[in-house]
Structures are given as C-alpha cells and as structure tokens.
Amino acid sequence: MASGSEIEIRLLEAKEDFVKALFWTMAAAAVMAIVITGMSVSAHHASGPFYDSEKRVEAVGTVTSFVFRNPHSFLYVDAPVDGGETIKWEIEMGASVMMSRRGWTPETIKAGDEIKVVGQPSRAPGTFGMCCAELTKTDGSPIRP
C-alpha cells in the first residue's frame, strides 16, 4: 500500500505529465495552425477592412488555381451549393516569399485538388472572398507543404 508521501509524489508526477501533455498539445496546435493556413497574415494590409473576423464561412470544393505570388497568394475554389449553382471562392493567403520559407511551393496545392476551407468572409456584398483560412483535405486531414 502506498504511503501518503508516495501518493503525493504520484499526484505531482501526474500533474507534471498533464502539464507536459497540455504544453505539447498547444505547441502542436500552434504549429498545425501555421502549416494549415499557410501564413494567412500577409503583413501587407490589415484584414479588418476586407474581411469580417466575427463570421466564419466554410467551402468544400475543387481547386481551380493556386496563384503563388507576392504580396499575397490566392487560392481559387469552385464550391457547389444547393440548387446546382457553384460559388467561386477567392481565398487570400500569405506572401509567397514567406510561405516558401515554410516549405510551400506553387505545387503544394494543384488545380483539381478537393479541399475544405474555413475562414473569414469578405465584407463587400456579393463577393466570395475569404481570408485567414484553415485549409484541409475534404476528410479533414491537413494540407502540408
């Protein structure tokens, strides 16, 4: 039978393990966020005037092109919606100079790829822009450079 001090030590070890697990979970989440979004902050302009950070939109569709440029890259996705129509989404991403330092290339995403995008919608009525987006495959697995 464990003594009081042994129990206390085990409790401390369990607490330490929990803290470590929490740390690594948070660190992994932070890294994944950067990988998935491909540096969505362009450092070229503020996102606030263009996109509504209070809202989230989701699109699932087919990539039509990935324009890997400076000062920001754009991903174009055709997403079918109810009624047989297709929304052409324009997803703003980071500067290619910055993204390439994280391993991204113009071929990381290709036309024809099926993709899921969740991000902030553009503000101007009738537009389908998105920023600060998380990009995953349609099964939810991450897109890695």
Partner: protein, 256 residues
C-alpha cells in the same frame, strides 16, 4: 570586384574583399595624411559590424499592424489638423501598395521580412526583401541633390559611438507614407533618423520620424533583427500588381 556580405561575414576584417591596390592606397594615404589618434585627440569612430542578412519576421518581433509599431497611448503619432483631415478622408482602396508601390521609411524597416546590409567605405547598402527595395546610405559627406524627391529619399550617414546614424530626407509626398495601416500621409518635409547598433547577436534600431506637414511632434520606435538563416539569400519579391490589388474588391467602398 565588389565586397559582398558573405565575403565580409567569412572574414571579419572589414575591407578584406577590397582590391589590393585600393587597400594599399588607403593605407599609404592614411599613413601620410591622417594624423594618429594621439596626435589629434580625435577618436576614430567605432564601426559596428552590421553586415549580413537579418531576420525581422514574426518570430523576432511583433508583426506590424494598426497598433504596431505605433502603439496608441505610447508612440502613436500626434497628427496636426492637416494630418487629421487627410486621415479622415483616406480610403483604403487607393493605398498605393495595392498597385505595388513599395513601402518607405518609417514603415519599410518594420515590415516582417529579411533585410541584407552591406558596409562599404563610402556607403552602406540596405536591401529589403519586401518590395525588392535598396537604400544607399552615403558616408562620404555628400549633400542631397537639389530639388530631387524619391520614394526612399536621400540618406546620409555616419558612425557615432558604435552606431550607424542615418538621416533621410527628400521623400516624395505619399498618402500612406507614415504608416501602412492607419492612412497617415507623409510629405516632402519628412525626416527619418535611424540609429543602428549591435547588442550581442541582435541588430537594433531606434527610428525617429518628423514631418511638420502632418505631425505635431516627432515620434519613435525601437526594434530589432536577428541573424537570418545561414546562407540565406534574399528572394525576388516581384510584386504582382494583379494580386496586390485583388483584395480591394472585398472592401465596402468608402464613397458610394
């Protein structure tokens, strides 16, 4: 033959890459014409080693934005009536950056990109990955060209107390010339003073901007860079005007 940053980095002796003849000439002229420190009592300025590729990215310092590096309540500029009037009518959609016009001082120095510095006897070159910009800082005492104004202005510098001090003037008028994010203009009266020095492996800068056309008083920020990745070469930025302007369509127009 030129001196590159990698030459200087591999050999810390500052002028080691210069042609031998020029080096000898400088030595001979120095021996003949320049009194020694003991003779004049004037100290030779300590020259900081600023050579290299420097990382100013998000992992090194806070990324620029509406409240960075100009922090409300701390160093955010106090605008005069003219500045306030310009700012109030500013429309984000007409910011020149959406047509690939490069950012300039004091915003350029705070963009989260790599920067390369090369020191020469008569000049220091600052090359910015953002917008492929190059600034030449003249150390030879030359005066600004008469009535010429450019995006990056005219820069003259000197070494003082282990720091490189730069004064830049003769900027063109720029409707977002103070700041990339808050619609604050700058005029041909803008004067930017930079002081660069080393602290260990860090490159540090205190930048002060004056512009009596729009600001009530000067304001400053201090920032830093860390050494870039070993062997890193600045990439071509090649701003794409079509992509640069594309987000404009997502703005709600300020004027209907």
């Amino acid at each position: 033959m030129s001196v590159t940053s990698s030459d200087l980095r591999e050999n810390p002796r500052r002028w080691s890459g210069l042609p031998l003849g020029v080096t000898l000439a400088v030595v001979v002229m120095g021996a003949v014409a320049v009194p020694t420190e003991g003779q004049t009592g004037v100290e030779t300025p300590e020259i900081p080693d600023l050579v290299g590729v420097w990382n100013g990215g998000g992992g090194v310092r806070p990324v620029n934005g509406p409240n960075m590096p100009w922090v409300p309540g701390e160093n955010f500029p106090v605008l005069n009536e003219r500045g306030q009037a310009f700012q109030s009518v500013f429309d984000e959609a007409i910011a020149p950056k959406y047509d690939c016009v490069p950012s300039a001082s004091p915003a350029l120095q705070y963009d989260p990109y790599m920067m390369e510095v090369t020191q020469w006897p008569d000049r220091v070159l600052f090359r910015y990955e953002k917008d492929d910009q190059i600034r030449t800082v003249w150390l030879d005492g030359r005066k600004p060209p008469f009535n010429e104004f450019t995006v990056q202005g005219f820069s003259a510098g000197s070494y003082e107390d282990g720091a490189l001090v730069i004064e830049t003037t003769q900027f063109v008028f720029d409707i977002t010339g103070f700041d990339d994010y808050n619609g604050i203009p700058s005029s041909q009266q803008k004067r930017v003073t930079e002081r660069y020095w080393r602290e260990g492996e860090e490159l540090r800068l205190t930048l002060t901007v004056e512009d009596p056309m729009f600001l009530r008083e000067p304001t400053s920020y201090t920032t830093r860079w860390l050494p870039g990745p070993e062997g890193y070469k600045l990439q071509l930025y090649g701003c794409d005007a079509e992509q640069a302007g594309r987000p404009r369509r997502f703005l709600i127009p300020k004027y209907q």
